[in-house]
Amino acid sequence: MASASSSSSSTNWIMESGEIPHVLAVDDSLIDRKLVEKLLRNSSCRVTTAENGLRALELLGLTNGEHSTLNGRSKVNLIITDYCMPGMTGYELLKKIKESSVMREVPVVIMSSENIPTRINKCLEEGAEMFMLKPLKESDVRELTCQLMNLGR
């Protein structure tokens, strides 16, 4: 798996003990959405899926400046998004999230089937926590959720 952490602090990852992580997974492929959802559920996460960037922004309440439909009651702890999506790419989605004062602290992970260093660096520089190579494996997701729940302490 090609991954590297950005230089930002690990406090983004810390959750209250006992809290179940809520992950927003964004991918235009139905198969990949189903896969990532199962992977995350098997790692004890609650999952909401979105099929494109616009829908993701809607769910996060970032489309028209209103309060998030999700974050009101069920805070999103992690956003995992595919890079290659028609319309808004994962990179563009990442940028929008990082531009938002409300959502910028939420860690964003980018997934891609292609291992392109310039693409990876671009995402990390824009503030992505990690870059993961598809297809995702159980070990990838376990590592991810471990970091999220800061069990490595």
């Binding site: 492929s29 896969l35 494996k137 159980e138």
Partner: protein, 153 residues
Amino acid sequence: MDGVTVQLEQQLFDYTASLFNEGFLDDQFNQLEQLQDETNPDFVVEVVTLFFDDAERLLNELTTSLGQENIDFKRLDAYVHQLKGSSSSIGAQTVHKTCISFCNFCTEKNVEGCLKSLQQVKHEYSLVKTKLETLFKMEQELLASRLSDLKVE
């Protein structure tokens, strides 16, 4: 345990092994099987069925696109990219590999190459579909045999 069940188990084991040995499936398929559990006992069949539906749709689109007078290679590439992704996600290795060379021909705008690739990917898809359907049928037979073993006085 009944002799029939033992035989079916052996046949299933051997058949599954052959699919991996012959390169039709790769480790990602194992990942799918590992994800299956009591909360989602039909996970593999569900995801593979999604793949079949998706692949058939894409193969139709590809056929139509390549039949145009002015071939839209960008659109073609987008379809192949989708098929490449979904085949990789379920571990359909032969289909995935064929898609990789298909993508290259799209980039090169090589019509001849694209036509050959389409033929090849249709062939590979048809093969792996038959094999997976056989695999699922064998699993059903084994399950039925195990159930009937339980009923024997």
